[in-house]
């Protein structure tokens, strides 16, 4: 309750666009924008990993939407029965929703071979979520060498051909370039929004930003860009300031529930940046728009050279450098490393990441979470204890 009061603001303080985006999230999974899209006789393709180049889907005039869970921890009995609990709750939640028929509106599902869980999700979705006519998986290298980039290019070219064959359409390079511009615009708008979070007393909470990004992957991109632009205007003119002086980064893979962020913030901090698939990693780097560059090559470069995910091999130094750079840029006092249970990539990468942050003088709180969980009980206690040891007046930056 306290968290809700603090982070939700009084109703009169809530920026109107935040409320609009919250409304989109409330109609999860088949949101109102998706319904309107389908109502026009158009198709929707769900994606499960942020390495999927949405631009290709969008260039085909298909609506790319991220397959996610809801903002709550949900029972996953059927997901567990099909997949052991040895894979993360994110994958089991997605499968659960698929088996329940909640994603029956999808005309296609695409993911990458990013991890064991995703590979098996593709297998399970193909055989058991039979309502989805197209299921595709993109091989994803774990490095960004020239050979890996060439190979990833071939993989996304194959994905493009598959969409063309299945939906009986042609994806032109012009459409791709247009789509790239559209998505780059999102990235720029989100960057501008995140710039506001660098202020000493940000006008938006981490939980609110969470809701913004959640909504963004559940609606047409043009519509989201308009809302983002409007939100930026509102935020820039807002007089609201967060009083909490402590500034945090959250690091992990996927989080679904803004209450998790809100709960941490309620203990006396503001989350100012997120190293998540649904955070900075989603928008960090632009796709090159050089007209002399093949747009598919531009996509392969951007997606493979973005801030590395924990699943990459031999790229830890690059990842650490970029994350420390973010910590400096956003002047964080501490990092909450929120890894989902049974997420091997993050679990294995965490000790080295912690060491890097701590060597730089940034304390780290390691939490094990379940997808969709909020921040209550022991998690809230640990967050509180962590914040108590941080010094808001520290001159680290």
């Amino acid at each position: 309750m306290a968290a809700t009061l603090i982070w939700a603001r009084r109703m009169s303080d809530t920026l109107p666009t935040i409320e609009t985006l919250r409304e989109v999230n409330r109609s999860f999974p088949f949101t109102e924008p998706m319904r309107r899209w389908k109502g026009q006789g158009k198709h929707i393709v769900g994606w499960g990993c942020s390495y999927v180049p949405e631009e290709i889907i969008s260039a085909a005039d298909l609506l790319p939407v991220r397959i996610t869970g809801d903002a709550r921890e949900m029972p996953t009995d059927e997901g567990d029965a099909h997949l052991y609990t040895v894979v993360c709750s994110y994958v089991r939640t997605l499968l659960q929703l698929g088996l329940e028929g909640q994603y029956d509106f999808l005309d296609g599902f695409v993911t990458t071979a990013s991890c064991d869980g995703m590979r098996r999700l593709r297998d399970m979705w193909k055989y058991y979520v039979t309502q989805t006519p197209l299921v595709h998986i993109i091989t994803l290298p774990r490095q960004s060498s020239p050979a890996a980039e060439d190979f990833f290019l071939q993989e996304i070219q194959a994905f493009r051909r598959r969409l063309e064959e299945h939906f009986n359409l042609t994806i032109t390079n012009d459409a791709l370039r247009q789509s790239i511009r559209l998505y780059n615009h999102t990235r720029q708008l989100l960057r501008n929004l995140y710039e506001l979070r660098k202020e000493p007393n940000p006008r938006l909470s981490g939980a609110e930003i969470f809701e913004v990004v959640n909504a963004g992957v559940r609606m047409p991109r043009g519509e989201f860009n308009d809302l983002l632009a409007r939100l930026l205007q509102e935020a820039r003119h807002s007089k609201a300031k967060r009083r909490q002086k402590l500034r945090l980064m959250i690091s992990g893979s996927c989080l679904a529930n803004p209450d998790f962020v809100a709960g941490i913030e309620a203990e006396g901090a503001t989350v100012v940046v997120e190293d998540l698939c649904t955070g900075v990693r989603y928008w960090a780097d632009l796709v090159e728009e050089d007209p002399g560059l093949d747009p598919m090559r531009a996509l392969a470069k951007r997606y493979l050279h973005n801030i590395p995910c924990a699943r990459t091999v031999g790229m830890a130094d690059i990842r650490h450098e970029r994350l420390l750079g973010l910590a400096k840029e956003y002047r964080v006092h501490g990092v909450v490393s929120a890894a989902m249970r049974s997420c091997s990539p993050h679990a294995m990468a965490r000790p080295a990441l912690r060491e890097k942050f701590e060597d730089a003088g940034i304390p780290v709180l390691e939490l094990n979470t379940e997808y969709g969980s909020g921040c209550a009980g022991p998690v809230a206690l640990r967050a509180r204890a962590f914040l108590e040891m941080l010094d808001p007046d520290s001159s680290l930056w």
């Binding site: 040895v86 894979v87 590979r119 297998d123 091989t139 290298p141 060439d150 091997s344 679990a347 294995m348």
Partner: protein, 439 residues
């Protein structure tokens, strides 16, 4: 990351114990193959321990990496997970390894093999290699642990990236990656790859796989006679892929198997049930087989995944491409890496080919790659082969398994999730289901 101390004592103990096991089997004269198996392992561990004294580079690698290039470069290869496992078993340091991994911050839900590896390295039980070759072959944990061990050891490394599916683009990518491995090893050793040696290593591997196919054919006899060989086969192909030792061993194994078949020297007098097993059983699984044979006339005919390959045509004019193609053919990669359609092909067709009555899946619940396939295997067997299926859950590194060479008496000493009585009851219910299906 802090530098790690290492004590040679642990390797000395391992060499000594393996030598003792070899001598014991030699003296018992029960099985020539058994003795040969331990001789090869003894020599291998000695080579790893003494690599530097011999003027050779010690190059560790993650599980199941194709080692032909390493043998061709005349380095001493070592499969780090197998080495760590053996060192802990011989030195009784398993628990310390797991404790160190936990203290380091590796989550407890991570596969025990991986935690054991990390802890073993942290404890200085295993020597620091001159280089590490990592791969994602198998699963995320294998990919990530390689990366972590390289940071712990602060040693040169190279990563071999196995793509998801077998197609021409993937073969080209893997071939290019393997070429990079050659360049890396040439830089490490200061000498060029002898391509004739690589061809020889490939030929040893090809011959080994051919011998395995002969064994696979011998498994089709009734009553089935060769169920206890999967562990040997797996370990030998794990350590010696591309080495003459693999051929020596599999020739001996094939000859012994032929002799057994000729003599009808099986474990059961009357074969009542023929079963296929999927994935490697835990060590107490062998006791379970003994009981099943003795009490119920069950023969375990075949395990199609662990140490087996699909067939392919390789072109010696393009050895790296041939090696890339071969890598995709290992059925264990196909099962763990995907796509699932390959598992269907590898298991369901074998059910029919080996004329089995049912399938037991030794479902390692801590293995992300294998346990997650359980439901699909079950449904595909039911749809495609129409025989009963039974999953025996286990944790591959249960407490009893860690004591190498212990006299494992009762099943309940070591069974992970069921009591001995419960497990036998379940097996008997499964056999009744098979019998009912015949009526």
């Amino acid at each position: 990351m802090k530098s790690l101390a290492y004590s040679e004592t642990y390797m000395d103990v391992a060499v000594e114990r393996l030598e003792g096991m070899y001598q014991q089997r030699l003296a018992s004269q029960l099985s020539q193959t058994d003795a040969l198996y331990y001789k090869l392992l003894t020599d291998h561990y000695r080579d790893m321990r003494d690599a530097r004294k011999m003027g050779k580079k010690l190059v560790f690698h993650t599980a199941l990496l194709p080692t032909e290039i390493l043998y061709a470069m005349d380095v001493v290869p070592g499969a780090v997970v197998g080495i760590c496992d053996s060192l802990n078993s011989f030195n009784n340091t398993w628990e310390q390894a797991l404790a160190s991994a936990k203290a380091f911050g590796i989550a407890s839900e991570i596969c025990a093999n991986i935690r054991m590896e990390v802890g073993t390295v942290l404890n200085g039980v295993v020597p620091r290699p001159d280089a590490m070759v990592m791969s994602n072959i198998s699963c995320d944990n294998v990919a990530m642990v390689g990366d972590l061990l390289v940071r712990l050891w602060d040693c040169p490394s190279y990563y071999v990236d196995l793509p998801y599916r077998y197609d021409e683009a993937s073969v080209a990518y893997l071939t290019r990656t393997l070429h990079g491995l050659v360049v890396f090893l040439e830089g490490l050793t200061g000498r060029k790859l002898d391509w004739d040696r690589l061809l020889q290593a490939m030929e040893y591997a090809r011959h080994m796989m051919e011998l395995q196919r002969e064994l696979d054919e011998l498994r089709k006899v009734s009553p089935a006679l060769l169920r206890d060989l999967v562990l040997f086969e797996d370990n030998i192909s794990f350590h010696f892929m591309g080495a003459s030792e693999a051929v020596t061993f599999f020739c001996a194994l094939r000859d012994e198997a032929k002799a057994r078949v000729a003599q009808g020297a099986g474990h059961v007098r009357e074969e009542k049930y023929r079963l296929l097993t999927v994935f490697q059983p835990p060590p107490w699984g062998w006791k379970l087989f003994d009981w099943m044979e003795r009490e119920h006339g069950v023969t375990v005919v075949y395990e199609p995944i662990f140490a087996h390959w699909g067939s392919w045509d390789w072109d010696p004019a393009n050895p790296l491409e041939a090696l890339a193609r071969k890598t995709f053919m290992r059925r264990l990669f196909r099962a763990e890496h995907g796509p699932i359609e390959l598992l269907e092909e590898d298991i369901v067709s074998r059910v029919k080919e080996y004329n089995v009555d049912g399938v037991i899946n030794f479902c390692n619940v801590s293995c992300r790659a294998k346990s997650t396939a359980h439901r699909l295997i079950k449904d595909k067997i039911r749809e495609g082969a129409g025989v009963p299926y039974f999953a025996i859950e286990h944790d591959g590194r249960g407490p009893g398994e860690r004591k190498m060479g212990a006299n494992l008496g009762r099943l309940s000493d070591v069974a992970d999730f069921d009591s001995e009585t419960d497990l036998r009851d379940k097996v008997e219910s499964f056999l009744e289901m098979i019998a009912a299906g015949r009526l």
